[in-house]
């Protein structure tokens, strides 16, 4: 369960997030939708304790991410990039992450297998293609077998097979009771994956609810999105 309540983030003189509030519930895929620069990544960074908000709280299972004893067993996150230093092998990268949270070494091989990187585990991360880097990032997120998954634009850089794999994986994760929060600006993708939708625009949440509620009388999610976000000209 993710609870974001009144989060405000100011950087310099710009208000990046303005009292952002929403929840993501277990057993459901929550799509976090918004144009580029709307505040999706900033919200996720606050949620993960990477950035500090000026006001509000962002909690995972009732506590801030940083206050959990073994955070990787509570939430797994996939942000942009693999998170691995380019001259380290994928296996070495996962080994240090596992050690940091006292996870067994065997778990490294399990997640490598899960994302299909076993054969390339000895390769340096710098040699990875974009798609392989994303899969390594996902493997990192899954190391602690967390009940909450937080993913920033997870299908970026994936090929069609990878996109389908990711979609199935996220659906299955929710089906087994996980809380899945993913940000995206790809409407079609979200419409097929998400149960709930939160739309953010210029730092404010402009719509939130089940997919059906947010689409409402519009023909598609895309129409609903554009209607709510494009009030001031083209916003890409």
């Amino acid at each position: 369960m993710i609870t974001i309540d009144g989060v405000t983030k100011i950087r310099g003189r710009t208000r990046i997030l303005h009292e952002v509030s929403f929840t993501a519930r277990p057993g459901r895929v929550t799509g976090f939708l918004g144009p580029n620069g709307a505040g999706k990544t900033s919200t996720l960074r606050v949620l993960l304790g990477l950035d500090r908000p000026q006001a509000g709280t962002a909690l995972i299972d009732g506590r801030r991410y940083a206050d959990h004893d073994r955070p990787l067993t509570v939430a797994g996150a996939l942000l942009d990039g693999s998170g691995a230093h380019r001259s380290r092998s994928a296996r070495a990268h996962l080994r240090w992450v596992a050690a940091s949270n006292g996870l067994p070494r065997a778990r490294v091989e399990e997640v490598l297998d899960l994302v299909g990187l076993s054969a390339d585990a000895g390769k340096r991360a710098g040699r990875f293609s974009l798609g392989m880097g994303r899969r390594l990032g996902l493997a990192t997120a899954l190391l602690g077998d967390p009940p909450v998954l937080i993913l920033d634009e997870p299908v970026n850089g994936l090929d069609p097979a990878g996109i389908r794999w990711m979609r199935t994986f996220l659906r299955d994760s929710a089906a087994t009771g996980r809380t899945v929060l993913l940000s995206s600006h790809l409407m079609g993708e979200l419409a097929e994956t998400a149960d709930d939708v939160v739309i953010i625009d210029r730092g404010r949440v402009v719509a939130a609810g089940t997919l059906a509620e947010v689409v409402g009388e519009h023909a598609t999610l895309e129409d609903a999105f554009l209607d709510r976000t494009a009030s001031e000209g083209v916003s890409w």
């Binding site: 993960l48 991410y65 998170g83 691995a84 949270n101």
Partner: protein, 185 residues
């Protein structure tokens, strides 16, 4: 996970990071080789000053590699979100892993007693690396301070130079940890 186990996990993770980074192993190997080779020139006062340069670079690289391509710093902060703990684990792991390598280097330089001094320099350089984040900038800063500014200070302001190097290291580390704990990743 209880307190001590959490600390142990964080230190263990940092140790794996250091051991699996090829550039660090290369820096140690080059430092040893340079120390041994320059030892042949019979420089009066010994060659420890060059060994020291190697350990300064090692400290900078150990700290700044977090910020090089790939965004590893975010993975680190997600794994160990308590930043003072992460920073301290880095320093402890670095000093612990480097100790035997520093001893060998000091022996090669003919001054086994200098091991502790090398470790202090190493850790200070890591603190600067944590602050500056950028490997070229941190190298420039640390080496300028050690090789160019410090000899001047020793000549002109001897009372400042009399501060023990452990005091300098402690001051830099405190500032580095405080800033690291506060800034956005």
């Amino acid at each position: 996970m209880t307190g001590p186990r959490r600390v142990a996990g964080a230190v263990h993770a940092e140790a794996i990071k250091l051991i699996t980074l090829p550039s660090l192993a290369l820096t140690v190997a080059l430092t040893w080789a340079l120390t041994a080779l320059l030892g042949l020139t019979g420089r009066p006062g010994g060659v420890l000053v060059y060994t020291q340069v190697g350990f300064l670079v090692l400290g900078v690289l150990a700290a700044t590699h977090e910020y090089q391509g790939g965004g590893q710093i975010r993975a680190s902060l997600l794994a160990v979100p308590r930043r003072p703990l992460l920073a301290v684990a880095k320093i402890v792991a670095l000093a612990g892993i480097a100790a035997p390598f520093a001893l060998v280097a000091a022996v090669l330089a003919g001054r086994p007693g200098a091991t502790g001094g090398l470790l202090l320099d190493l850790v200070l350089a890591a603190g600067v690396g944590m602050l500056v984040k950028h490997s070229v900038g941190a190298t420039g800063l640390v080496l300028t301070a050690y090789e160019i500014v410090s000899p001047l200070v020793r000549t002109h302001l001897p009372e400042v130079a009399r501060l023990p190097s452990s005091a300098w290291t402690a001051a830099v580390l405190l500032v580095a940890i405080a800033i690291f704990a506060r800034r956005e990743a």
